[in-house]
Symmetry: C2
Subunit: 398 residues, 2 copies
């Protein structure tokens, strides 16, 4: 099997491990930067590599609409298309489709919706989404799931969880069929004759645990998923979508207990620095979020003392770097005064530098968490880190 | 003297030389990328260094208004502020001030205008502009000049040329006074006692030859300038501002004959690839223009076969790089299809990659011109280069 996961150290529920993919090893816990449209906004893949990013994300819904998953396949798959030779994960687009105002109809078969770009009619079924993610060619692909708002009552959350479980079985069947067919330009050896020695599969399908903020639904979701197949890893979805933080943390604890310990867990769409540390504390290995690049474009920098809005007047003459303890390519060279000048002048380099700094911040935060787990000091490290972060994270600064 | 210029080879009027500044050597002919607001739009100084840029530009008018030249001085000068340790040239802002719709009054003393940002009243005199450029701390600073439209009749062009010459004398006096005062944070040793061994001056003042498209005015302008002082280099202004290309080339030939051969000539605000080659043919050593970054942000790439608008539908599935002969960081990794996708998706990386490619294109073009002059093959090289460029530069492609 070309996807393996090995845990080297644990401290409480926190784990340090290595997730092996066809495009390289991801040391966990790890933060994945989000490249929705096959580009991590404002950044170059070479910068991501330099700052220590290991694995990045792209989105099947968005890439299906533009430039089209068939086109990406024709051009050699996502890795070649976006010039990122490390591991990639694609989200299935479930979250996007179910967030659309132009959503038309949900049935057992799938979802009918209109493109947010041109209004064209589209249908996503579990099978169709597997085909799209196969065309894109990421290392890890997520199942198509039914996503409901974070505060949904139990009946609605149950309906979505059960449908997601049924759709997972269809995803798995189609995923297997597509791997047997092979022939993708990026899938070396997949088109060999059936009797030949076949290389290991080049994609891994992750299921997604749903169930809203209802512990019994989360447990049932995990049980159904585990009973269906031996998965190379698990997604945890439907969190950080409006529910209270204590609810999210409680669901992570339930999920941690319900999932096999020896596979990576990916907490989807999370999150802010404090969420990552809280997630690692509760057995999560992988995270992703648009926050570092989105906030970076808006002028907000993460620091160990909370968020800083660089556009504030107080930074006009400030010769210090964004974060004096940071070693990123922005902090090593530029003053707050300069970065503020870039933002007040609408200069693109401002968004570049803050996006770079923020992604580096989360990547480095997870590196520090790994080191602390390996050293056996994670509990003290995380308590100290959270204490400092919250002590200064006054709303006035953000 | 810390500014020297040595010509190693000539072919006809074309020259290959080395312009030595306190922040390093500029091998000429050379193209300078424009960083109006202390940032070359969309690019990081590290990228400029990697692509081979030697010297860059900033603008005194814009930086005076935002963030303020006093602030830049306080933060250690332009080099430190923008993290570019190579040579920098600042334009005086004459071109900008005389282009303002909010220009209020021109007198012998100077120009009164309102800021394009906040409408605040400002006065630029030759002395004031020298103080601003001293605060910014570029290696080469341009005189404050009176700029008129490119097609101006002789009387108006003469008035502006004569005023520019009188202002030059005032610039020189103030420049000398400021250097004697010293004390700038970036000017090491300038604050030594008068009896101490003083380091060589850290700034060079360039005059600007004016005279519109009138040969006799250009000659007179050059003569007045040369008679006033022995300058470390010469600007050629008021070209590429609406006049016909043959007029510009004719003025370059007049100026070439009228200026000392042993000093660098800087053709201000020029230009497009073909203009650079034509300029080198006529004895020009330095160029600058916003075209590579502005066109890059708009989706246009320079290639040896003319300009290409990457947003065109024909590039949707094109797996080739922007320019198959180019070695820049964009062409080495990305397809036209990918760059087009970035532009149709409004992704910032698109503007980054095309800006990078276009600046690299002009920097590499001047490197090729240098090599051809050194090899004695410049005439054949430039004829072949221009022939190919014009053969394909059909309007349909741009």
């Amino acid at each position: 099997m070309s996807f393996t996961f090995a845990i080297s150290h644990t401290v409480g529920r926190a784990r340090a491990g290595a997730f092996v993919t066809p495009h390289g090893v991801v040391e966990t816990p790890a933060f994945m930067a989000v490249g929705t449209l096959a580009t991590v906004k404002a950044l170059d893949p070479a910068e991501l590599r330099t700052l220590g990013a290991q694995m990045i994300l792209a989105n099947a819904y968005h890439l299906h609409l533009r430039p089209g998953d068939e086109l990406v396949r024709e051009l050699g798959g996502l890795h070649r298309f976006m010039a990122w030779d490390g591991p990639i994960l694609t989200d299935s687009g479930g979250f996007q489709v179910f967030s659309l105002e132009t959503l038309r109809a949900i049935s057992e078969d799938g979802v009918e919706f209109r493109s947010h770009l041109d209004g064209s009619r589209r249908v996503f079924t579990p099978e169709r989404v597997m085909q799209i993610e196969r065309n894109l060619g990421a290392d890890v692909i997520m199942q198509f799931d039914h996503v409901v708002p974070g505060q949904s009552e139990a009946p609605l959350a149950r309906e979505a969880m059960e449908r997601s479980a049924r759709w997972l079985a269809r995803c798995l069947a189609e995923f297997g069929r597509l791997q047997a067919v092979g022939g993708e330009p990026w899938a070396v050896g997949d088109d060999l004759p059936p009797t030949a020695h076949r290389p290991p599969p080049t994609q891994a399908l992750f299921p997604i645990v749903q169930g809203g903020i209802h512990a019994e639904l989360r447990e049932e979701s995990a049980r159904r998923i585990v009973d269906l197949h031996e998965w190379p890893g698990y997604g945890i979805g439907g969190l950080s979508v409006g529910e209270a933080k204590p609810d999210m943390y409680a669901m992570l604890e339930v999920t941690d207990a319900a999932l096999p310990a020896d596979r990576p867990r990916y907490l989807m769409g999370v999150g802010f620095p404090e969420d990552l540390v809280e997630g690692v504390r509760r057995g999560v290995d992988l995270f992703d979020c648009v926050a570092p690049t989105r906030m970076g474009r808006n002028g907000t920098a993460f620091t160990p003392d909370g968020r800083v809005n660089i556009k504030r007047t107080e930074f006009r003459r400030d010769p210090r770097p964004l974060d004096p303890e940071c070693g990123c390519a922005a902090c090593a060279r530029f003053s707050r005064a300069y970065v503020r000048h870039l933002f007040t002048s609408d200069e693109m380099l401002g968004a570049r530098l803050l996006s770079l700094h923020n992604v580096h911040f989360l990547v480095a935060l997870m590196r520090a968490a790994r080191d602390a787990v390996r050293a056996g000091t994670f509990d003290a490290w995380s308590a100290a880190w959270l204490g400092r972060y919250h002590a200064h994270a006054a709303p006035a600064l953000t």
